[in-house]
C-alpha cells in the first residue's frame, strides 16, 4: 500500500512535468497516451531512457520530477497498480457526425479521377454502386496509398469545429492493411490441410 501511494504521487508529479513539456507539440489526448506509455517503463527500469523521443522530452521531465533514481518495483506490484487517469478537457473538440458511409474499392485510376465500386454501409446494402470520384476528394497522404483494389471508407456528414461551427464534410480514408503474421498463415495452413483432407481424395 505504501508503494502504491508512493508510485501514485510520483506519477502525478511526473505527468505534470511531461505534459507541460509536451504541450507545445501535441494535443491533450496525445499527451495522456504518451504519459500512460512512459510511466510503466520508468517504474520498471528506473529510467525513462527507452521512452525518450526525438524531442528529449522524457529526460527533461524525469529530471524535473527528481525521478531518475527511483527503485524498480516488483512485478507483482506493477500488476496491481491502477494509474489514475487525467480527466479529459471539457473544452469542445472537433466532432464528425456521419450521415452516409460507404466502403469502396478502386477499379480504375485516371489522371484527375478514379472509379470506385461502393457498398452503402448506412443502408446495409450488399449491392454495389459505381462512382467516378475526383482525386481532389482524397488527401495527399491518402493519395499515396491508392492502388487498384485499394479499399477505403467514405463518409459524408457534418463536422462541428472547436468553435462550435457546423459544416458539411466529405472524407475519404484508405484503410491500412496489417501484414500477414505467422499466426495468420499457421491458421490458414491448418484450415487448408483440413479442407484438402476432406475434399481431395
Amino acid at each position: 500500500m505504501l508503494e502504491l501511494d508512493r508510485s501514485t504521487a510520483q506519477f502525478q508529479t511526473h505527468s505534470v512535468a511531461v505534459s507541460s513539456s509536451l504541450h507545445e507539440y501535441f494535443s491533450e489526448e496525445d499527451q495522456i497516451r504518451h504519459i500512460e506509455r512512459t510511466i510503466p517503463r520508468v517504474l520498471r527500469n528506473g529510467t525513462a531512457a527507452h521512452a525518450t523521443d526525438s524531442y528529449g522530452i522524457d529526460r527533461l521531465a524525469e529530471k524535473e520530477a527528481g525521478f531518475s533514481n527511483s527503485e524498480p518495483l516488483a512485478e507483482e506490484t506493477l500488476r496491481i497498480l491502477n494509474f489514475p487517469r487525467r480527466h479529459k478537457s471539457e473544452l469542445p473538440t472537433r466532432t464528425l457526425y456521419p450521415l452516409q458511409e460507404w466502403e469502396g474499392y478502386i477499379v480504375e485510376i485516371r489522371t484527375s479521377d478514379f472509379v470506385a465500386r461502393l457498398v452503402d454501409l448506412t443502408a446495409g446494402s450488399i449491392c454495389e454502386e459505381e462512382a467516378v470520384i475526383p482525386l481532389a476528394e482524397v488527401s495527399d497522404k491518402d493519395a499515396a496509398k491508392m492502388d487498384l483494389g485499394s479499399i477505403f471508407r467514405w463518409v459524408i456528414g457534418y463536422e462541428r469545429s472547436l468553435s462550435g461551427t457546423k459544416k458539411r464534410v466529405s472524407q475519404i480514408v484508405f484503410r491500412d492493411l496489417p501484414a500477414f503474421t505467422e499466426t495468420d498463415l499457421r491458421a490458414g495452413q491448418t484450415w487448408a490441410s483440413e479442407i484438402v483432407r476432406l475434399l481431395k481424395p
Binding site: 474499392y105 459505381e130 467516378v132 501484414a179 500477414f180 495468420d184 498463415l185
Partner: protein, 360 residues
C-alpha cells in the same frame, strides 16, 4: 424477372446465358428435368440469377440441379456462388483443381479471417463454398484438361482446361499480391493472362456446346495442341472473355467450331472500360453472322437508392454521380428437341440483342 415461360420438355435441351453487363451465368438442361449451372451472377437484390430463373420457369433448383461449375474465381463469374451451392443441395460442385490447392486455400483463409471487408469478393465466395462443402455430400469434382466431369443420359460434360503446368505460375502470381506491411488494404486483383479458367465441352445428344469461360489466348493454344481432347465441332459457342481480343484465337473457330455457329457474348463493363469493343464486335461478326449479346450495355442507370437532400447536394457539388454496376438482366435462351426437325429456337429475352444491334 422478365416473363420467361415454362420449363422445357424432358427431351428438350436448353442452354440459357445471363449477362446483365457485369457478371455472367449459364444454366443447362441436360434432359429429363436435370440441370447444370455454370458460373454465377446476381440480381439487384443479391440473389443468384440462375436460381431465380430456374424458379421462375417452374424448376426446383434445390433438387433438380446435378452440377454447379465455377469456371474461375473472378468476381464477375462467382457472385452468389456460395448461396447457390448451399441452396442446390443435390448438386456436385466443380472448379479448377488449383482452387483447392493447399497453398491457395491457406491464403484465402488468412485473407478472410484477418483482412475483413464488407464488400464481397471471389476469395470470399471460394472460402464460403469450401467451408460449406467440408461437411456436405456429394464431394466436389476438380476440373483439369480432358476430364469428364458429368455423364448422364445423353449428356456428357468435359473440362478442356486448365493444365497442371499452369498451377505453379498461378500460385506464384497470387503470392506476389499478398498483403505487406504499410500498404493500404486492397482486394486481390484479377490476374492476366487468365490461364486457369475451366473451358467446358458439352455434348447433348448430337449437339456440342463450347463454353469459353474467360480463357485467354495462351490457354486456347494449349487446348488446340492437345490431341487427347474430345472429338467433334461445336455448334454453340460462349465467346471467351466477353469477346475480348486477348481471348481470340482464329484456329478455335476453324478447328473446334462448326461453320457459322451460334455465338453468344456476355458484355462486361467496369469504370470506363468495357467489352466487347466495336472492333471485337466486327471481328466476331466476321466469324459468324449468328452472334448475340446478352445485353446492349448502354450506360448503366443512375442509382435508384433514396438519399437525403444533403447527401445529394454534397455529391452534386463534388461532381460525383452514383450508378448501378449493371443494367437490366438480359438472356439468350437456346432450346432444341431430340426429335424435332425444326432445329433450335433462339430467344432474346430482356435487354439481349443480336450482336449487330449491340451498343457499347
Amino acid at each position: 424477372m422478365t416473363q420467361v415461360g415454362g420449363s422445357p420438355d424432358g427431351e428438350e435441351f436448353e442452354i440459357t446465358l445471363f449477362g446483365p453487363g457485369y457478371g455472367e451465368g449459364i444454366v443447362l438442361h441436360t434432359g429429363d428435368g436435370r440441370w447444370a449451372i455454370i458460373d454465377s451472377c446476381t440480381n439487384a437484390d443479391g440473389e443468384p440469377l440462375a436460381f431465380r430463373y430456374l424458379q421462375s420457369i417452374g424448376v426446383d433448383p434445390t433438387n433438380e440441379v446435378d452440377l454447379i461449375v465455377a469456371t474461375h474465381w473472378h468476381d464477375d463469374h462467382i457472385r452468389g456462388m456460395a448461396a447457390l451451392v448451399r441452396a442446390c443441395k443435390k448438386a456436385t460442385f466443380c472448379c479448377a483443381s488449383v482452387l483447392c490447392d493447399h497453398e491457395f486455400l491457406a491464403i484465402t483463409h488468412a485473407l478472410e479471417k484477418h483482412h475483413f471487408s464488407s464488400i464481397g469478393s471471389g476469395v470470399h465466395e471460394i472460402h464460403e463454398v469450401f467451408s460449406h462443402l467440408a461437411s456436405k455430400q456429394p464431394k466436389p469434382v476438380f476440373a483439369i484438361a480432358n476430364r469428364r466431369i458429368l455423364s448422364k443420359g445423353a449428356c456428357e460434360i468435359w473440362s478442356l482446361s486448365p493444365r497442371d503446368s499452369n498451377f505453379l505460375s498461378f500460385l506464384r502470381s497470387i503470392n506476389q499480391l499478398l498483403p505487406s506491411q504499410g500498404r493500404s488494404k486492397r482486394r486481390i486483383p484479377s490476374l492476366s493472362p487468365n490461364r486457369i479458367s475451366v473451358v467446358l465441352w458439352i455434348k447433348l445428344a448430337d449437339i456440342i456446346v463450347l463454353l469459353g469461360s474467360d480463357l485467354e489466348k495462351p490457354g486456347w493454344i494449349e487446348i488446340l495442341q492437345d490431341t487427347a481432347r474430345p472429338n467433334g465441332k461445336a455448334s454453340v459457342f460462349k465467346v471467351a472473355h466477353h469477346g475480348s481480343q486477348n481471348a481470340h484465337e482464329p484456329r478455335v473457330w476453324r478447328q473446334m467450331l462448326e461453320d457459322e455457329p451460334v455465338a453468344v457474348v456476355t458484355p462486361w463493363r467496369i469504370g470506363h472500360r468495357s467489352l466487347p469493343s466495336q472492333q471485337d464486335v466486327q471481328r466476331i461478326l466476321s466469324c459468324t453472322p449468328n452472334a448475340y449479346a446478352t445485353t446492349k450495355l448502354k450506360s448503366p442507370p443512375r442509382s435508384s437508392r433514396r438519399r437525403s437532400n444533403m447527401i445529394r447536394r454534397t455529391l452534386r457539388e463534388s461532381g460525383i454521380e452514383l450508378r448501378r454496376i449493371s443494367g437490366p438482366t438480359g438472356m439468350i435462351r437456346i432450346r432444341w428437341s431430340l426429335h424435332s426437325q425444326d432445329g433450335w429456337r433462339i430467344e432474346k429475352i430482356g435487354s439481349a440483342c443480336h450482336l449487330e444491334d449491340f451498343v457499347t
